[in-house]
Symmetry: C2
């Protein structure tokens, strides 16, 4: 008997996850108590999931044949990230294996598609222009948009419609820099938008199952630093009215897209008004706080949703909760610093992703629940700083 052979005889449903990062890892953490068997398609360079999931297959999410073969071995196929070969998924959708979320929701990861669809549906989105950099009049269009929408510093925002994450694939440019940028840029179409004055940023976490049941968590407030989510507050520091509007937008999008699984709607609050920034068609960094803070975590809920099980309640268990990301530094591994973090904040909930520490890489997070956001935030930041062996610092928001 080889070691791996003992893991083959799975009872209960088998969920396949494409990608072996921290989202796969945390989905597996939620799957174990539920009696759901998780199988991961991981690339050789993936860290995070393979350390803790016995049943994995080596393969790339860009390799159509690897995905198709992997899908044959599972009941439901889901995702650690949305940058997956769509043609392969189309093929899998024609087999007995369910693809959840389906291509309909995954395609919404395309920012150009998102903006156009939501705009047509009457949902609140920023002013925008979809631009193909190879088109003859691309520069003219961009300059006209810039002339109309640039902020006081002359800046507009350009985003690659596909493939960006954690601040990558986003640029802020003045009109005089557009020509050089467009000449050099090659890739997916661009979305241009104003650089909005932001009051704050929100995330609405939504779950929907194939039976049509929808669950929405209380609105989360996200603090972005350098385009990356740095902190999450539950609840968001907004009026009840604005919270209700945001939740309603989440529900509308779930119905519009017939979404399956958990997804996040990232929202701007600009001059008191809600604007949809983008959709993340999967469990989301902002939702990590739900592991301890909510009656049902986003990871349990995603598994329940994609298996078409009844969804769980989403109310908060404590008055306040704050999550702070742990980002890699030049030196040190957080897996040597848990005692220091727990010494600083014994009540901190540490989550390490099993990833080597590199600058600007998310390698873990810390959640603290309690009576007030202020107190939770101070504690979570302290523990996170101890984990990355840095002095604690709070961003000025």
């Amino acid at each position: 008997m080889t070691q791996t052979s003992m893991t083959q005889a799975a009872a209960g449903p088998v969920v396949g996850i494409v990608g072996g990062g921290q989202l796969a890892r945390m989905l597996a953490e939620a799957a174990t108590p539920l009696g759901i068997h998780v199988r991961v398609l991981a690339a050789p360079h993936d860290e995070g999931a393979v350390e803790v999931i016995p049943d994995f297959t080596l393969g790339s999410p860009d390799d159509a044949s690897a995905i198709i073969e992997f899908a044959k071995t599972v009941d439901v196929l889901s995702f650690d990230h949305e940058n997956v070969d769509h043609d392969a998924l189309s093929q899998v959708e024609r087999t007995r294996t369910a693809v959840r979320p389906g291509l309909g929701l995954l395609k919404i990861a395309d920012k150009a598609h998102q903006r156009s669809l939501f705009s047509q549906a009457g949902l609140p989105v920023p002013e925008f222009l979809v631009l193909d950099a190879d088109q003859d009049d691309a520069l003219d269009q961009a300059l006209r948009f810039s002339a109309k929408h640039a902020d006081d510093d002359g800046l507009i925002v350009l985003k690659a419609s596909r493939g960006g994450y954690d601040g990558r694939g986003v640029w802020m440019l003045r009109s005089e820099d557009l020509e050089a940028f467009l000449a050099e840029y090659s890739g997916a179409p661009l979305v241009l938008e104003p650089k909005l004055p932001l009051d704050l940023e929100l995330a609405v976490l939504v779950a929907r199952n194939p039976s049509g049941e929808v669950a929405v968590w209380p609105v989360l407030e996200t603090v972005q630093v350098d385009g990356m989510c740095a902190e999450v507050f539950l609840p968001a520091r907004i009026s009840e009215d604005l919270a209700a509007q945001a939740e309603q937008i989440g529900r509308q999008i779930a119905e519009l897209l017939e979404a399956v699984g958990v997804f996040a709607v990232e929202l701007f609050v600009s001059s008191g008004e809600l604007l949809i920034n983008e959709i993340a068609p999967r469990v989301h960094n902002s939702g990590h706080v739900t592991i301890e803070a909510s009656a049902t975590s986003q990871f349990s809920q995603h598994l329940r949703a994609i298996l078409d099980w009844p969804l769980g309640p989403t109310h908060s268990l404590q008055p306040a909760a704050v999550m702070v990301n742990v980002v890699g530094a030049e030196t040190g591994d957080p897996r040597d610093h848990q005692a220091a973090a727990l010494s600083a904040v014994p009540a901190a909930h540490l989550h390490l992703y099993g990833k080597a520490s590199r600058p600007a890489r998310k390698i873990g997070h810390v959640t603290v629940t309690g009576e007030s956001l202020e107190q939770c935030r101070t504690s979570a930041a302290l523990a996170a700083a101890a984990l990355s062996s840095q002095e604690g610092s709070l961003h000025d928001y």
Copy 2:
């Protein structure tokens, strides 16, 4: 690259667990977010842990050489169950690998040793007699004890001092049956005690780390059926005064034994008085409720304690919580019934152990937290019954 080779390069501390049942499984669930690498020594027939822990070694807890070799590969050695070769552990204790809990606490699993030690320390224990069945005057001694302590039905309790669990190794006998029983019995010394009239049963869950820090959870109430823990209530339905006494007994035992890790003190309440039933020198069935109900779960706490990290707070997060065990039946596997259980009780926290269903075998548990024990208990029992595809029933306590 083989599949297993990817799991070898562990960063952070490596905790070895002897035994691959549900306690190892839930320890691993707690270890993952903490960035602790778990390695299991599992027997070929073990189920539960190996399905979800990539890094395991096949070997028996009765095989001294297997334990000694396994211990060389880990930083700290701990246990899924206490029936482990003590000579092997003595040898490991002389190496660089820490054995936690140490032999001192493991030996307390011997009921004869426990009773004598606690009695000498002035801790409240029932009347008892340690009896070697092979001794010439064993029957005389037993008859004298029976004459003095038998209840109205003429019954006394006999317990094997080692090796029993979940009601095995416990007998209730009349004086006229003692001779035949002793003639046939062979094994560890027996402990005789009165069959006490019980008001209820309690468990005090205690953690201690090598630095001497002690943490005690609020007292748990356990409901036993056929010698097995069936339900757990948090908090116990007892007076504040009795709760304080019970917690104090837990602390005293932690100091007395210089315990390391989590252990449980099982207590009887008989005619309003506390009596120590026995110690379980490990994470305990009664403590499963702490996963959702407490600021720190017994599994996280045990890992923190054996690594000499600071302990976490133990207060309850909700006014009430109830755990109900899921016991195997003749037919059906709970891994096919999660949707039914969650449909009955969407807020139920399901925990399945990856074990095949057999009668009288613990294969999972359900926890529900909320405002009142009554409501939590009804819900948890309903979900547990749905998992084992049985009609819901509450024991009459």
